[in-house]
Symmetry: C4
Subunit: 219 residues, 4 copies
């Protein structure tokens, strides 16, 4: 394997610590993958391995059809969904899947999260949409993710009765989207459970999204 | 004691760290036990001892009637219930008991947790059932666990007004079930508190359960 | 100061770590005190000092009228309440005060926590009662604690619009009661927010309380 | 830069650890600033930098019009709001901004937090008020903060659909206000979600506020 692959193994491995730190995952559920730049490969978590036991070497390298190219472990049971996204969304460099509590709660109701926080407008550019119910074992989950997110500002989709998938230009951006998705899912849930929330005008959402995508962070 | 007993002491001791890590226990409530393979013995937490003070040596070895065979401490006050399960469910190699918040909340309402998450279908194969109210001090709790879980896919039972007992092929599997039980108990509670949840069709639950039990994790 | 005083300084200091570990306190709110055996003294946290900065030496030694006997810092602003309890409840060896979230929420509604969990029957022997609204600055808080807890099984009282005070035979027992009080306050809140809870019969509460007080833990 | 600036860099950097410890922030959202005593300068977090990567050297020094005076990074995207507060409230020595969950939930409903806890009376002297909806990019947020907090006892303002800004005599006091704001936002939310809360009489609020501001902590 090339050093580019090794770099992605290292990054993808380390990013799982963020899923644990933000309490987005229980036991071994939840996984991060990252595309290897300029190669038709991605790196993903092994299936059913504890987060505390992950090492860069234990990460699994897959081709874009989901077959294992390198690695001693079986890849995540969600590998087919990740692979489908990489094949159909060439701009995507990272994918994250979790069953984080509040995002999954909205998913269990098949209810999009309304955009009533400026932080949501910043990161998601509007509501966080719901994708279809789909069984594991073929391309149905992948198709549901891609059909829901294509043409949508949101990097997160709530898969009905399941959990959340997020995408990003790289694995770090996808993890950030997973962290922020749970954060706003929780805040909006709490807000609404106390009474009616105040909507934000669409033009204000547009303005916030545009500014955050272009002016936030370091140049 | 044999080295097989020592190995179970080590595992059972260490697994209590997971109860703490996932915040399933307060003070000294909650306990793990593990059957010693090929011997009529199991190893369990001492009663009322702080989690930070547990050592393999402080674990208590009991016969299947609950009597102490080896150990300087009194065993968990739930020992009779664990013993009853080991006597009547020979396939069970580990038992866990907690008062974890959300599972205990469903138990206080004597309400089963409906299966509205694919992760629940995976691990529990359907709803998580409720067992009877039972006082400590005889075999009533053990009987309630066994009668509720016998013939049921779920490795977890919500004992009315009490908390949760989980079983597994070994102590690690029982701890996993306790972690996942609290996780889905919380997510479904949050989901339903925001409106109506979407049911999952029984045939889809069956399909998810079958796949997860047979294809997840490492071969 | 005697070595008995030093031992209580050490214990009281260290027990504040449990308030932090169980997230019962924010910033500097919340305090533990312990009676010095066989002396008319108790040891308490200094006022407004961060938990991470506490040392045995920084603890304040007070007489039973609340006056400082030894210590370089001002004592907790709740010292008068602790002192009142020690003067009027000679069996009490430790007092804890927190504004823990769920206990304080019941207190803000002036609503006792109903006993619908066996763990509540074990530790509290029934409902957790509410004490009167009282301002700080005289003996009103202390009187409210003592009048509510005298003749009551519960070692915890919810002071209206304020927070929780707990007592115990020593400071460790009072901290345990504070931890368990928040635990059951949270579980019962969550339980009831999902529908009607099942009551426990008084004779079963009595039986559980009697057994736990006499048979739990190490001899 | 003078050693006074270096001291504020150190303090402001370290205080971000408290935002993380109390789980007030997700990813890189949320920031602390501190005024440099006797100079028309303040120190603020760099934009979009992870909390684990912050060092005193990475903090950004700004003039009171918000322009960067020293620092290798771009300052927080909220710098204009902090600067506006420092220009118009000369008594303020520290400003904190977070999207903490419960405070932001009240903000999403544009609902002030009613003062039903003695700890709220102590720290906030009454309800925590709501400021206007305002877009980032000009002085609107700063104006909203200053107009809401001027003449108000509360050091915290809930900016509609956004989050919370707190002020203090120095950065530590502003962080304390942010921690306490989330704490009472959560407790009052939980309290009200279980039924009607008991109000505190205005004269009692006044008495508590006066005492806490003048008698709490070390002389």
């Amino acid at each position: 394997m090339t050093s580019a692959v090794d770099a992605v193994r290292e990054t993808v491995c380390r990013l799982h610590d963020e899923l644990v730190r933000y309490q987005l995952v229980a036991w071994t559920a939840g996984n991060v993958s990252g595309r290897v730049p300029d190669q038709d490969l991605f790196v993903i978590k092994p299936s059913g391995v504890a987060y505390t036991g992950l090492t860069p070497e234990s990460m699994v390298v897959c081709a874009l059809d989901g077959r294992v190219v390198d690695g001693e472990f079986s890849p995540s049971s969600d590998t087919d969904a990740h692979a489908y996204v990489y094949r159909h969304m060439p701009e995507v460099g990272g994918v994250v899947h979790t069953h984080s509590t509040y995002a999954s709660a909205w998913a269990a109701r098949a209810e999009p999260i309304p955009c009533v926080l400026t932080a949501m407008a910043d990161e998601f550019g509007g509501e966080i949409p719901v994708g279809p119910f789909a069984l594991i074992g073929n391309d149905d989950i992948g198709k549901g993710i891609v059909s829901t997110l294509t043409g949508h500002r949101s990097p997160a989709v709530l898969m009905q009765n399941h959990g959340v998938f997020t995408i990003g230009k790289d694995a770090t951006a996808a993890v950030k989207a997973a962290v922020m998705c749970e954060d706003v899912a929780r805040t909006v849930h709490v807000a609404r459970s106390g009474g009616a929330v105040v909507p934000i005008a669409q033009e204000d959402i547009d303005s916030l999204y545009d500014r955050y995508q272009n002016a936030y962070g370091q140049p």
